[in-house]
Symmetry: C2
Subunit: 304 residues, 2 copies
């Protein structure tokens, strides 16, 4: 960190105020009652904001079919972030060896085999297979609140391995999907401004892996496929993305067979709030004591 | 199933009423808005019931330090249920091979390495390391609502791979812990009876692995370490456990260095509600349409 914020005092403040509980693995802290309250009340605020949109509401577990990850070629673009779930398929003797290996602090994971599931890397992933087929003329709109996993252990408090994303997913023609994405970009900004967060938006790219990744990122920025809304949380210079707005073109719909009424492959877009980051942006901006937050913010989040 | 219930019509009913959304992996279905509402309203009811208990409230992510699993010797007793998270640590060339293997439908999991985290197999596991040290004279009481994972894919709708448990964890002397466990056994029964569920309690055992497991299970039953509250959901004969009440003696406290004021290793007990199973018990007992549920049940769950 070469600028005026330091993340250590912010992290320590979250701990001292009982907002989070440290664990022994980076990016997996526990959430205290007040931190969780802020997350859920922000989620309620999003519900009220989008109440008339008519979104279908679902919740998926943290694990998904690994075929979803395969079909969207996740391992070509983000192999370093994946979390594959492995388990034990052996007999009594092998179980004995496994337990012994674990007791000796060995690499017992090598004695397991890959299961059918992986940790979901994005809240929208389990939604696409459920949309297979032809969408109605007006398209479809789905919202979820799911746990996601990214294997990127970091001391930086806003970079979690396991966190929640509240997402909206829009499916239809490009003419339906792109304006919807742009509408939410403004709506997301307005929402965070209403909470008195110093939010700004910018074109963005995903953290693609390796040599090919740099080209992908440039192309993504060039085509303005991804925008983010950012708030200063752990750095005054490098602001933290708290929402993202993504136009996937036909990437997901072609993988899962989602079509528009005229038989074309549908286009999709999604927007998502990083729930823990939203909470941290609020604590950074308004302080660790929610009783001291501006009255209008407390009212919007029903904290009174 | 060799008795009068069949789980297929119950599962189909849940799907047809939009309460759950099928996925391609057994035991990982999505939850619809109403199903989720029932889960969260039941959780609120538990909050009200235990409001004066003074429990510390935390929420942990679905992944935990794998050292926790090692320290409590989980792989000796439940290796078949574990979910270890593996990820990719290689270079550009290896990433290319990984993606190719996945594209060809190969066992790409073999090209990954075990990370620091596993899926949490019980909601109370991440709590114990945070209790290390000496507890106050009155002991400690913690409550959590966490996602857990058990690798047991099944067509049976109440047997999920990924689900939520609302747990209370009590730490102190045996004289504090055992009566607390017994108090909750009665309280849990009363709570479910107030929701007009035909609940009953029984001594129980865990699904220990292999040859040694049978002995462990007999000993656990013999010592009355585990009780369950059960409701008929998918079978009239084999009722479904919807809460469990466990006395761990010094198992967890010795693993994590938790002591009482007199320097003895503390004892612990926990009680947990299987949240999805509670919801399914309610749908089975009162029907798929929550508007038709008994008025007292709707009132208790604030569904009006």
């Amino acid at each position: 960190m070469d600028d005026s914020y330091e993340y250590k005092p912010f992290y320590d403040g979250l701990v001292e105020h009982g907002l989070i509980v440290p664990t022994s693995v980076l990016g997996t802290f526990g959430r205290g009652a007040v931190f969780e309250q802020v997350v859920l009340r922000f989620n309620d605020l999003v519900n009220r904001l989008a109440a008339d949109d008519g979104a279908e509401v679902y919740f998926f577990p943290p694990v998904i079919d690994r075929k979803i990850m395969e079909k969207v070629h996740y391992l070509e673009t983000f192999p370093h972030l994946c979390g594959s779930v492995h388990s034990f398929y052996g007999d009594n003797k092998e179980a004995h060896n496994l337990a012994e290996c674990a007791n000796e602090g060995g690499q017992w994971g090598d004695m397991l085999k890959q299961t059918q599931v992986v940790l979901s890397p994005a809240a929208c992933y389990p939604v696409y297979p459920t949309l297979a087929g032809t969408v109605p003329a007006e398209g479809r709109l789905v919202t979820v609140l799911n746990w996601v996993f990214r294997h990127e252990p970091s001391e930086e408090p806003t970079r979690l391995q396991s966190f929640r994303m509240r997402e909206f997913i829009r499916v239809g023609t490009p003419e339906q999907v792109v304006p919807w994405r742009d509408m939410w970009l403004q709506r997301g900004l307005d929402l965070l401004h209403s909470l008195k967060l110093p939010a700004s938006s910018d074109v963005a790219s995903d953290p693609f892996f390796g040599r090919g990744g740099k080209m992908r990122a440039l192309s993504q920025k060039d085509q303005k496929l991804k925008f983010e809304v950012l708030v200063p949380v752990i750095s005054e210079v490098d602001h933290t993305a708290v929402c993202s707005f993504n136009y996937h073109q036909d990437h997901f719909a072609s993988a899962f067979g989602i079509y528009t009424q005229d038989g074309e492959i549908a286009h999709t877009a999604c927007m998502g709030f990083g729930m823990e980051r939203i909470a941290m942006a609020l604590f950074k901006t308004h302080g660790f004591d929610i009783k001291q937050w501006p009255e209008t913010v407390r009212e919007l989040l029903c904290l009174n």
